[in-house]
Amino acid sequence: MRFILRRLGFYLIAFWASITLNFLLPRFMPGDPVSRMFARSQDRMQPEQIEALRKLLGVDDRPLWEQYIGYMTNIFTGQMGVSISRFPTPVTEVISSQIGWTLLLGGTALVIAAVVGNLLGVLAAWRRGGAVDSALPPLLVFIGSFPYFWLAMGALYLFGVVLNWFPIRHAFTAGLEPGFTWEFIGDVGAHLVLPALTIVLVSIGGWMLGMRNTMIATNSEDYITMAEAKGLRPGRIMLRYAARNAMLPSVTSFGMGLGFVVGGALLTEVVFAYPGVGYQLLNAVQGLDYPLMQGLFLTITAAVLLANFLVDILYVRLDPRVRSN
């Protein structure tokens, strides 16, 4: 319990730090970006909306500490202002309409990469020096040296433009009515293939190597020898004895991966114009939409912290050593 509370305190501090960063950035940046934004879009807004945004972004005459308290209150009551590029939609509404796509893309890619990568790692460690062990790691390290977005561009060009196997932009075909019909689900699936595939391709190496290295250490444990001496089937020893005990580091990676799901798919979403949070963040930056930018950044941070906290709780369940301390 103490462990959980300690971690919770740490995540709260981290979240406070990111809110404060959000608060300070528009107020202390040179060149007064916020005024620039207002100059661009003033004619479309009502006076009271301008007033609210001014307060949110720090263009007002109150003392700093008063602004800070007001800002905190706004954040914790979910008032993040109005989006400017998609005026007059509230920021929270824009985010909630897009986070689903990000979760779909990132979640699918994470689960596939984690499952396949870990299985490959188990196989590589079990048959050391075999085909999987000697051929795949260098290849995956080499793939990992390419800038991620470049691989995505390559996949888009090869499979989307040249071979024309998969659609290359957006999450579903324009004009298709969203709903739980086979046609729509199939369409979404087809649009998901390329972005998810590229994420899997770059992230699978980390899973595989991590699992392989822990598994090699586990393989030399006495209880594995014991299991072999008992004459258990190799497959059973590999999965139930060795792999099961080598899983712990992968659980941690999975938590970090969950954070990546919300924030890290940014480049993928940009390359494939996938309408998720990351794509929206870049659009917000380009449109000088500071309220939306702040809201997105806070959402992404909150998701990362929450994912990490969940993994900590899970860790306490899985690893008795954490509990006894």
Binding site: F10, Y11, W150
Partner: protein
Amino acid sequence: MTTAILKQPGTTAAKTPAARKPNRSFVHGILTNKKALTGMAVMLVFIALALLAPVLFPGDPSRITAMASMEPSAEHWLGTTAKGQDVLALTVHGSRSSLFVGLTVGFASTFVGILVGLASAYFGKFIDEALSLVTNVFLLLPGLPLLVILAAFLPPGLGTVILVLVVTGWAGSARVLRSQALSIRSKDFVAAAVVSGERAGRIMFREILPNMASIVMGTLLACVIYGIGAQAGLEFLGLGDASTVSWGNNLFWAGNEGALLTGSWWVFVPSGVCIALVAFALALINYAVDEVTNPRLRKIKTPKDTERSAAK
């Protein structure tokens, strides 16, 4: 500045003749290591290209010299962009900004990492708690979105790019260096130095730091790789310094001008391959440093030993 510190090992090593040997054998080991040699050869080629770029392709590489979107030919080895710029000239000139930013970011974030890591490990207690907290918060904040937000608020320019990359990149090296410094901090010779009344700065930089030179080297290489990749990513998003020619900007324009959709693969392949080659070369050097300094990773001929070393 960091290089000067890295060269310091002589000061402690000189005290005992025995301590000198590992240093010489490190240089020897690196120079006879195949991975290191391959990596260094690739890096030297790129550095040479970067230095010679104004000689090889005089003038502004982004000026329009030919027809738009031409395939590679004898005249334009790598073809031309949708604007009619020579892709080879852009790629060679691009290495200047990419290597410069990568190296600057690498050295700067390693330097910050060294300061934070050493201070954490040496002073301990409250300072360690506070610095570790800050490090962990920075490690946890999602890097790419933070990068985007910072780049959006700061005025665009090369300085911003470097600053933003250092801000998001130092925490990883600080954590690695702290844990290494902690283990050295508990050694007897450090205790002896404390007792003999040496100043804190001297103990940190003259006693502890030289003994973790190989970890610092590995961190530095990793930070350079991060710097080059992250700069390219930032520029690809259109948030870098648009006025310079760099690999990331080349890719940004390739995407922007629809090189993918028109099938001009020669526009976006070269810059990406260059980034990958540099990153791979640096990673090779990094592996080699590991192999030379960590006897467990060395290749040993007898099968029994291989098994044991691999089990680590």
